[in-house]
């Protein structure tokens, strides 16, 4: 059975079971480390739902994750495994950041230009990998990984350019101009008491709906899916498979790049010098898997991950390492990965003997 149908057939029940197992395993680990899991999970829950402010923060955290999740999900749908969303996200953020700092334009135009730059950067980052595959037959996983690291150092290089680097303390870029920020209007920030509240979630949801529409309702989506499911049959049917492959990689990259823009223009307002990879791209893989590669699923999965990330940050208050979140997430995908097998076992028990 191919990777695609396993991913696509993942259904909500098994995902739910996987999530439960993830939390149980996390609890065991906390207990072993001498931390009361009840206390830690209580803190986590409270840290997410305790106040409107917390919920808003979770959503702010979610927006870029939804977008990288969509990027990966879109690639799954079209038969590629975009492990390069990380690099596309990074070039997206640095592109948005650079345009946000260097240009001086009125608000809506400046924002659009930043977003366009980020989307283009992400798309280019994806399409280069596509070209290497199509023209030279180079394994895309390999070049995705290489381009993740090239993006990483490129971003650090740009952040340290004198025109970009902030003056005064801090290893980061200058702040992007206010005209490029996508912060929510004041009444919302006041209402939610979340200073970073921004339009990112709206952009992410709109992108999800657009992706859903393109995939399931258009001839472009038909061709992309055909190539994803069976390159040979698509070719036989007269579809230009290389063109579709590149298109898929470009769109997937563009979505991750958009995620970078949302992060930079929304919550962060700048790009920091990285010491290690940002993980948004890799977390996007988790989001796509939990969301069963469905665009709408990605919205919920992204919010779930965003909440875990935000809430996890508060675990240190009870002396619980925030990394328990990574472990829980890892266990969840591990069980989603083998859920397919459980289905087979259950079905066999129901039928047969």
């Amino acid at each position: 059975m191919s990777r695609k149908d396993k991913i696509l057939n993942g259904n909500a029940l098994y995902t739910f079971i996987a999530i439960i197992i993830g939390f149980v395993a996390g609890a065991v680990l906390l207990a072993v480390a001498g931390i009361n899991p009840g206390l830690a999970y209580g803190k986590l829950l409270n840290g997410v739902f305790g106040q409107v402010k917390y919920i808003t923060w979770s959503i702010v955290y979610a927006a870029p994750l939804i977008l990288t999740g969509l990027s990966v999900a879109f690639s799954f749908r079209t038969g590629v495994f975009n492990i390069g969303a990380e690099g596309q996200f990074v070039v997206g953020s640095i592109a948005a950041c650079t345009v946000g700092i260097l240009f001086d334009l009125p608000a809506p135009i400046h924002i659009l230009l930043c977003i366009a730059a980020a989307v283009a950067a992400g798309a280019v980052w994806g399409i280069i990998v596509g070209f290497l595959k199509v023209k030279r037959g180079i394994n895309e996983v390999l070049s995705y990984i290489m381009f993740n690291w090239i993006a990483f150092y490129l971003s650090n290089y740009i952040v340290n350019l004198s025109a970009i680097h902030r003056t005064g303390g801090g290893e980061a870029s200058k702040d992007v101009a206010d005209s490029a920020r996508i912060l929510a209007p004041e009444f919302i920030t006041k209402l939610t008491r979340c200073t970073a509240a921004n339009w990112g979630i709206v952009i992410a949801v709109a992108a999800a709906v657009l992706v859903w529409f393109v995939i399931s309702k258009t001839t472009l989506g038909y061709q992309l899916r055909a190539v994803g499911f069976s390159k040979t049959a698509a070719e036989y049917g007269g579809i230009n498979t290389n063109k579709m492959f590149l298109t898929a990689m470009a769109i997937s990259g563009a979505l991750a790049g958009l995620g970078g823009a949302v992060q930079t223009l929304g919550m962060a307002g700048r790009v920091s010098q990285f010491a290690s990879q940002e993980q948004y791209g890799f977390q996007g893989i988790t989001v796509a898997l939990i969301g069963s590669s469905h665009p709408v699923g990605c919205i919920f999965a992204g919010i779930f991950y965003g909440a875990m990330k935000y809430g996890g940050g508060k675990l240190s208050l009870v002396k619980a390492p925030a990394e328990v979140v990574d472990i829980i997430m890892g266990i969840i995908i591990f069980f989603i990965a083998i859920a397919h097998m459980f289905k087979v076992i259950f079905n066999r028990k129901k039928g047969g003997k």
Binding site: I7, A33, V141, L142, I145, S276, F282, V324
Partner: protein
């Protein structure tokens, strides 16, 4: 002339520091990939190996024992990956991604739990690290010192290439593991236990990746830090694809990465070019080498495809 020899010595020294962890992990990856199981969890396995290696050495004061335990920690995650991919027929890339979340998460989690919420483990004393050879024979900074007075584990890792080459091409086990990666069904009809071979290979890949990780904390760096591995596992995987899935090819690819790394430290010392651009060299060189020099890598035919027995 003297300066050239000295620089050459520095370059080789930097290569000898950078290559072994990659090489160990990449050789592990060879086992797994050739038997038909894609293992992108190498990164996570290296990280847990780095952590366990440094912590065991810290408490026991024995670098070699820490090194070995680092390997075991990697192997434990090898077991996890094998259960998912071999027994349950899970998607191998996804299972590997899971390992890459769980293993580093666990390493940092345990580090914080053990060392008062610090994500760095305590620094190791020289005596607890892996030993260096020819101590005191060559004057510090001389060519001989740079090339020969290095960690014996580094030379061991090169020796291992030879051993693994022999295993792959001259022994029963090697022949069978290569066959399993090409056509598992055929192997089963010949009475070969496909599951057992794949389990052994995936666990070995974890063990070697763990050793690679432990090498980093027990030789190159003297402690565990969250980003001590930063992508070396992924580079090791690249080296295997680059090296066309053979131990000897993998060695060449790892040496190339090591060389780029050596170049990096040499050029970085002069501070002419931005250190960030220099850091890109290994990756850019890989891409260029793939474009211009290397033909298509012949992937083992059954690579990445779950194999399940019908009952």
């Amino acid at each position: 002339m003297g300066i050239i020899i000295k620089d050459l010595g520095l370059l080789i020294n930097a290569m000898l520091i950078a290559t072994p962890p990659l090489l160990l992990a990449a050789l592990g990856s060879c086992f797994s990939e050739r038997s038909g199981v894609v293992n992108i969890g190498i990164e996570g396995m290296m990280t847990i190996g780095a952590f366990v290696g440094s912590v065991v050495a810290y408490y026991t004061g024995n670098g070699w024992f820490g090194f070995f335990c680092g390997g075991l920690a990697g192997a434990a995650f090898g077991v996890l990956h094998a259960v998912a991919c071999v027994s349950f027929g899970a998607d191998q890339t996804i299972s590997g991604t899971a390992v890459n979340f769980i293993a580093p998460g666990l390493a940092i989690f345990l580090c914080k739990a053990m060392f008062d919420n610090s994500s760095d483990s305590p620094a190791l004393e020289t005596a607890s690290k892996l030993p260096k050879m020819f101590n005191g024979i060559f004057p510090a900074g001389s060519f001989g010192y740079n090339v020969l007075s290095t960690y014996s584990a580094a030379y061991l890792s090169f020796l291992l290439v030879l051993v693994i080459w022999f295993v792959f091409y001259k022994t029963r086990f090697g022949m069978r593991l290569r066959a399993v990666g090409e056509h598992p069904k055929a192997c089963e009809t010949l009475g070969i236990n496909v599951f057992r071979i794949r389990y052994i290979c995936v666990i070995l890949s974890g063990f070697l990746a763990g050793l690679g990780g432990a090498y980093v904390t027990l030789a190159t760096v003297s402690q565990f830090r969250p980003n001590v591995i930063v992508g070396q596992g992924f580079i090791a995987i690249s080296a295997v694809i680059f090296g066309k899935f053979t131990p000897q090819g993998t060695l060449k690819a790892c040496l190339l990465f090591g060389f780029c790394n050596g170049l990096k430290s040499l050029l970085g010392a002069n501070n002419i070019v931005s250190p960030y651009l220099i850091s890109m060299i290994p990756y850019v060189v890989t891409i260029l080498a793939l474009i211009f020099f290397v033909g298509k890598s012949r992937v083992p035919a059954a690579n990445g495809k779950p194999y399940l027995k019908a009952k």
